[in-house]
């Protein structure tokens, strides 16, 4: 998926003298969370991410009722009245869609450091940052072995760090140590209790539900647990315990019992293409049922969006000298 809008964006940029006020991501800034997550998810189908993006748009609507979105406002509050530069670290940033939106939203001086193992995914974001004068830095590195400066950051964003799993204890220790006073980490990840049994339960329910919908919509397609990509280890039980060991939750939104399974399937993602109003109606129905299943505790959620602070840290703004 091309966060910057791909060839069309490049063409527009060329036509407008290399500078657009907002890129396609910025134009849908209300959906910044979706773009940030999409960047880390990469569904298989070319246009199938519309389904997943629609889902994350819904998640974002839920989170907008909290004080944590827009992320830029939250980061400004973390900075406090002292006037120092806001330091943000994004681990597993993918193509930095969320970070670009964050940078555009910040009114105070800031610096955002994006870390991802795939350098090629920075290409578009780097260009946008140059064009718009955004203060983003990019480092291609494995998150599992990336050394983080202690006490430097106000906000750390992690995308899919828990699910990678290897060397997790070291990574979490580093993140905890990297946060200054009042700092917090925003975790976007996949959680659960053992991959196959959990996913199969949720997948079974999703497939029963799909069987209840008109075949003109589903075309007879069903979710296949094995197709749900983006999961690299089976160690999420341990990951969650580790997270709990180093951090305490400030706000947690557990969600998505099967929507990942639907949207990750290229056939189903097309069946529930939100750009078609009839299909969107069914997609919204699935999302409502997914929400209800999690809310009722009938199915376990697979997705975590949470704000955590290091254990023992106090809530508040960091104490520092003025610039």
């Amino acid at each position: 998926m091309s966060v910057g809008g791909g060839a069309l964006a490049r063409l527009l940029r060329a036509l407008t003298g290399g500078h657009l006020g907002k890129d396609p991501v910025g134009e849908v800034g209300e959906r910044s969370l979706a773009h940030g997550v999409i960047g880390a998810f990469e569904p298989e189908a070319g246009d199938a991410d519309a389904c997943w993006r629609h889902y994350w748009g819904h998640v974002e609507e839920v989170l907008r009722h909290t004080s944590y979105l827009p992320l830029a406002s939250y980061a400004e509050r973390k900075r406090g009245p002292s006037g120092r530069c806001i330091e943000v670290l994004s681990l597993g940033s993918g193509s930095c869609g969320q970070e670009l939106t964050l940078a555009r939203g910040l009114r105070s001086p800031y610096r955002i450091l994006c870390v991802d193992r795939d350098q090629s995914r920075f290409e578009e974001a780097r260009q946008w940052a140059v064009d718009e004068g955004l203060r983003l830095e990019f480092i291609a590195a494995e998150v599992d072995s990336f050394l983080i400066e202690p006490g430097r950051f106000d906000l750390v964003l992690t995308h899919g760090v828990l699910r990678r799993g290897s060397n997790l204890q070291w990574v979490l220790e580093q993140i905890a140590a990297s946060l200054g006073a009042g700092g917090a980490v925003v975790v976007v990840d996949v959680v659960g209790t053992g991959r196959r049994p959990l996913w199969e339960d949720n997948g079974r329910f999703a497939n029963a539900l799909l069987a209840g919908l008109p075949v003109e919509i589903t075309r007879g397609h069903r979710v296949e647990v094995d197709r749900a990509n983006g999961i690299e280890t089976d160690r999420r039980e341990e990951a969650l315990s580790q997270l709990d060991r180093y951090f305490e939750p400030e706000h947690v939104h557990l969600h998505g019992a099967f929507m990942r399974l639907v949207c990750a399937d290229p056939h189903l993602a097309t069946c529930f293409d939100p750009q078609d109003p009839v299909r969107r109606k069914y997609l919204d129905f699935l999302i409502s049922v997914d929400d209800a299943a999690v809310r009722a505790g009938a199915l376990q959620p697979l997705e975590l969006w949470g704000v955590f602070r290091p254990r023992g840290a106090t809530v508040g703004t960091r104490c520092s000298t003025a610039e």
Binding site: P249, F285, A296, L304
Partner: protein, 524 residues
């Protein structure tokens, strides 16, 4: 995130506990904690509905009545239709602060004594009367509120009842309806059934026990017209509040076995009950399945309320007058007329089956035409004889009913196929036109799809073989049932629409046991 866990922290800790295998499993079977009270599945669902209704100005209903109609010097007059044992009405009476009068109309005689005793014992101003709601007459302009709970779906003569209700309300009065408005007869639409059974298939078998929703066809007249209810209400009333809900919950909540599967007194089962309620809500909200339940408040349309067209007393003519007059309408040659009329019993039956405003169609013309006009029906008559039409019109004019019938002069095989000739939603069709083959069949063919489910089809002169074959066919079809027979005149009630694409093999008329014979050389 629930209201009790606004930051999701408890949910997170619970998930961590589950990850560590420390969370206790709650067994769905076993002792039921009484923490949720004694409410069963259906009651739990209705409490959920009440939460939605509770956010409207109509709740609590007693308070709404007090605010809207209460005040010094006037009593709130309430009519409750189909009130059964009047429990709700007695409760309502107990909560009234202003003077009030409640009349309960029940069709169950057994309820009368008990409800009357209850009202008298408590000194409540509640009166109980027994009446058939298909023919009930409501005092015009009397009531502030008319309650119709689980009534409209059981009534055949809906137009009559709704007209009576509209006329029975004072200016500013309202009708409150709680009823089912799903598929006629079965109630549950196919897509709803498919959805609910798929949802059940996706839930743990420890919860559902493998049970599924099964749809049965109710006996009697119940639900015959429930599909039309809301459309008909809209014809007579405007909506003040309509809450449509429940795409399938009735079939879980009222099924003895499934209701136990989703017993809210067990916390694990309640969790799944909450889920199926949420799925039901979502299916209705997103238009995935049609709702079966209606909770609504309506006020009469200005053109209907208290001013429903009623015939002036001078225009009221008894069918006995027609029978006594025995007018001759049919051509006897040389400009004379003769009488081929159906029997007086048939005329009385036609007249008695109709209410003012009902839509009727007849092929052929005669005294039956007059009988239907006398009943106040919006009657359409197809006859090839202009002179017959003129004679009938003249007779009706002499009774003060000129123009009461729409005559379509022409042969029915030419007139009926014309687009827009036959009104929709016919209440009664009377086939008494040309008797030679295939005219009775043709008349039926063009008219039956316009006859509403629950409507009547009359066929005259069934002794004639070319008419009899139509009756023989209908007697074999489960969509039709004989209502009354008067010699060779037979009335059948339409119970359902014939399935589209129903092929000849599915018609009992063609079945082997009926002894159908094949022409030599025909294919099997």
């Amino acid at each position: 995130m629930s209201g009790r866990d606004p930051n999701g922290i408890d949910a997170f800790h619970s998930l961590v506990q589950r990850c560590r295998g420390l969370a206790a499993r709650t067994e769905p079977r076993g002792p039921d904690p009484q923490e949720a009270g004694s409410e069963d599945c259906w009651g739990y669902y209705w409490r959920h509905v009440a939460e939605t209704i509770g956010r409207t100005p109509y709740a609590p209903f007693a308070d709404f009545l007090e605010r809207k109609y209460g005040g010094p010097g006037r009593a709130i007059e309430i009519l409750s239709l189909g009130s059964g044992s009047c429990e709700r009405e007695l409760r309502l009476a107990r909560t009234q602060r202003s003077p009030y009068f409640i009349r309960c109309v029940s069709s169950e005689g057994s309820a009368l004594a008990e409800a009357t005793r209850g009202a008298q014992a408590e000194g409540l101003n509640v009166e109980v009367v027994i009446a058939d709601l298909n023919s009930v007459e409501i005092e015009p302009g009397r009531f502030h509120v008319i309650l119709a709970e689980a009534v409209l779906s059981k009534v055949i003569e809906l137009e009559h009842l709704l007209e009576q209700i509209a006329a029975g309300l004072v200016e500013g009065g309202c009708l409150q309806v709680v009823d089912v408005v799903g598929k006629s007869r079965e109630l549950l639409w196919e897509e709803n059934e498919q959805l609910v059974n798929s949802v059940l298939a996706g839930l743990p078998v420890e919860i559902t026990g493998g049970r599924r929703v099964e749809v049965g066809v109710p006996e009697g007249e119940s639900g015959l017209r429930q599909e039309e209810t809301l459309t008909l209400i809209d014809r007579y009333f405007q909506r003040e509040l309509v809450h449509r809900h429940g795409a399938f919950m009735r079939f879980l909540g009222t099924d003895a076995e499934l209701a136990v599967c989703f017993d809210p007194r067990n916390p694990v089962r309640r969790r799944f009950l909450d889920l199926v309620i949420a799925i039901d809500d979502a299916a209705v909200e997103h238009g995935i399945a049609r709702p079966l339940e209606l909770w609504g408040v309506f006020t009469p349309r200005p053109e209907r309320g208290g001013a429903v067209r009623r015939r002036a007393p001078s225009q009221i003519v008894s069918v006995d007058r027609l029978i006594a007059d025995n007018p001759a309408f049919h051509d006897a040659g040389a400009g004379t007329s003769e009488n081929w009329s159906t029997s007086p019993d048939v005329l009385r039956f036609l007249h008695g089956s109709l209410r003012p405003g009902m839509r009727t169609l007849e092929t052929g013309a005669g005294q039956s035409t007059v009988a239907m006009a006398l009943a106040g029906a919006r009657h359409t008559c197809v006859t090839p004889s202009r002179r017959e039409a003129e004679r009938i019109e003249a007779y009706l004019a002499s009774l003060g009913l000129g123009g009461a019938v729409t005559f379509l002069v022409g042969s029915s095989d030419v007139v009926l196929p014309r687009s827009g000739v036959i009104p929709a939603g016919l209440d009664l069709v009377f086939i008494d036109g040309a008797h030679r083959f295939p005219f009775p069949i043709l008349d039926w063919h063009f008219a039956e799809s316009r006859l509403r489910v629950g409507g009547l089809l009359g066929i005259d002169d069934c002794w004639i073989p070319s008419v009899r074959c139509l009756l023989d066919y209908l007697l074999g079809e489960e969509e039709w049932a004989v209502e009354r027979e008067f010699g060779s005149t037979v009335f059948l009630r339409k119970l359902a629409e014939a399935p589209r694409g129903k092929d000849w093999l599915a018609q009992r008329y063609n079945s082997a046991e009926r002894g159908a014979t094949r022409a030599p050389g025909s294919s099997p």
